[in-house]
Symmetry: C2
Subunit: 387 residues, 2 copies
């Protein structure tokens, strides 16, 4: 199964260098013992002191009652609700020791950047933000959609870079690679316009703590919408859609990638969950119409329905630009709860992710075991074909 | 295709009498010309005066730009994102003439009822609420989950009725049938405990304006959850799960039915949307833990993701009862916007549904044409097998 995922991800880039760190104590384990994150008051209390005993990443959660009937559930074929069957959640490689306990947590940085028509400035500016996020403890940094260029069909061809050629042909990703290596962090590099042959893509690069490109996601669902008098944008006028979902094993867990409009397609998040994702990262630039309507709703829904973390990162709002972004970069927990968010100004959010909550919520609400594979089935076409 | 749906629905009850009203002027067309519903201010304006010209229920929405490339979209096989392929939205049989224009709208009544251990009182009380809702203009009335009985595993066997036997064996549904016939309205009758042979179900009956049982939905996903210290409930201790999704053509459109925990499974809503539903009705009794966490989130997500109306109806809150319901019955529009809601006290919500908005929102955001059938596919097992 793991081989299947790797082979899929590999198809997205020649430069992939997938590896999977085993669960060891992280470098900041004893340097940085912080209090556990607090959930909103209406959430059930998290039994923090027994995390290390109650978490089971074998994929076999234990239901804490004798009343539950596994016989009944199995007759509904929950394992068939996904084809191929859902993978068990992998053991996250991120751990932190606090006194006698080992926690599965780390900090994420969401850099809600201001973006200008000056590409050099955008790159230098993003670098500073990444450095600040790392300095404040982030082991994973997420950037916005199209952070090196104005968001417009006129700009995409001008600002596009040849990522596969690398070096001078792609100063934006060269910076990301160097920053990741020097800071020893994972970077989900938002997105930039990518030129590949005669085609343009909206592309997200993921760099590991060694500076190597681990995955490249080309936006699968292009942003072609028409709400008369409000927002009309036809991304397919200039861009080509990617051909593959992208999920990648990093030092901070298994991460599924989507870009902006990809968030609207619940099937993609469902596929990632079935491939064992701990976290979905969506760089995105919703606008002043779709932002208030759907931005928070969709990310909370993806998190709650799939019982995993969702992080989004938007550009800061610039009311003078042709496309005005909504902002509101957000981290959502596996119960669909907003853990950290902001308004529309430029800012860096640092927030804690605790993967033990993913397993806990799946024990609270064992949706995976309750699905009706006898009635519906979601097929992951590429994973199925690769088996 | 239509035959496939009918045959599926028919399997849920011997008493089904499916029919599909053609789009004619409704009886209240000229009697009751009300102003159109107003959307929240952040929503794009609805071009009300051209509804009659821009709505196309052939399933072929027109994209209002020359930039959109259907060739590109078709290479992604959006029609294969559902198996069998999604049905076109049927012409809703509900219309209302106002001056020279014909609108596709009607009023729904959500009866958030108080429920007591006195079954006779519950039935009489529900009847009064239905009558009041109809008097206030509702052509469709929705009741809460388990409205004739306390919500508890101890009560289900005691309050259960033999719906198929009817008459004295099921006083609750006999009342619903009579009320529907006398008031000439459609009733989605919340749910009651049903006894069938030696099994118990959590069952929703849909009655047409002629008083006939049109569909019977047995809760497909049983409520077995365990959030220690907050809420633990194992419905499967007494109940058996239903074996079929339920979608039904009524005088007020094509309606997909789910009961409470069914709302958590996005696949069911996706199946209903692909079968051409205008509206999903979920009688439900979320509790004081899951209510604030997920009740509104899930119904808004189902509506926005599937671009259709979602109506929910809860019992009123009784803090003295063993299971304390969240309340907050709600109507959500096809952009995921809350159109009408309430707190937890007993009340009747009357709100307007305008199906032309379903088509409008699908034109604004043509998700159906943008899905990646080359990457994922949701299979409706029963519909596929019936073809």
């Amino acid at each position: 199964m793991k081989a299947a995922i790797s082979s899929l991800t590999t198809t997205t880039s020649k430069n992939l260098n997938l590896h999977y760190s085993s669960a060891t104590l992280s470098r900041s384990a004893l340097l940085n013992p912080k209090p556990l994150s607090r959930s909103p008051s209406f959430l059930p209390p998290i039994p923090t002191k027994i995390h290390h005993t109650r978490i089971d990443f074998s994929g076999k959660s234990h239901f804490h009652t004798n009343n539950f009937s596994p016989v009944m559930a199995s007759s509904y074929k929950p394992e068939q609700a996904r084809a191929p069957p859902a993978l068990p959640l992998p053991a996250p490689p991120v751990t932190k020791a606090i006194y006698f306990y080992v926690y599965i947590l780390f900090e994420i940085g969401l850099c809600q950047l201001s973006v200008t028509p000056d590409k050099e400035r955008n790159i230098a500016h993003a670098r500073k933000a990444i450095e600040e996020a790392a300095q404040r403890g982030a082991q994973l940094v997420l950037l916005p959609e199209i952070w090196n260029s104005p968001y417009s069909n006129d700009s995409f061809p001008i600002y596009a870079e040849d990522i596969d050629a690398g070096g001078d042909a792609s100063p934006s990703t060269a910076m990301l690679s160097e920053a990741a290596r020097l800071l020893k962090i994972t970077i989900v590099g938002g997105s930039i316009p990518e030129r590949s042959g005669d085609k343009l893509y909206n592309t997200c690069c993921v760099f590991g703590a060694d500076g190597k490109l681990k995955a490249k996601h080309r936006k699968i669902h292009l942003f072609d919408i028409d709400i008369p008098g409000k927002i009309t944008f036809i991304e397919s006028k200039t861009l080509t859609a990617g051909q593959s979902p992208t999920i990648v094993d990093t030092d901070v867990g298994r991460i599924g990638i989507g870009i902006c409009y990809d968030l609207r397609f619940q099937e993609l998040a469902m596929i990632y969950a079935a491939r064992g994702a701990h976290l979905l990262c969506y760089p995105g630039a919703f606008n002043m119409t779709t932002g208030p309507l759907h931005w928070e709703l969709l990310q909370r829904a993806r998190a709650a329905d799939n019982q995993l973390y969702v992080a989004t990162c938007s550009p800061a709002r610039d009311t003078e630009s042709g496309y005005v972004a909504w902002g509101h970069s957000t981290l959502v927990g596996p119960f669909g709860e907003v853990l950290a968010t902001t308004e529309h100004e430029e800012t860096i959010i640092i927030a804690e992710i605790d993967y033990s909550l993913v397993e806990l919520r799946r024990t609270n609400l064992p949706l995976q075991k309750q699905r009706r594979g006898d009635l519906y089935q979601l097929v992951d076409v590429q994973r199925l074909n690769s088996e």
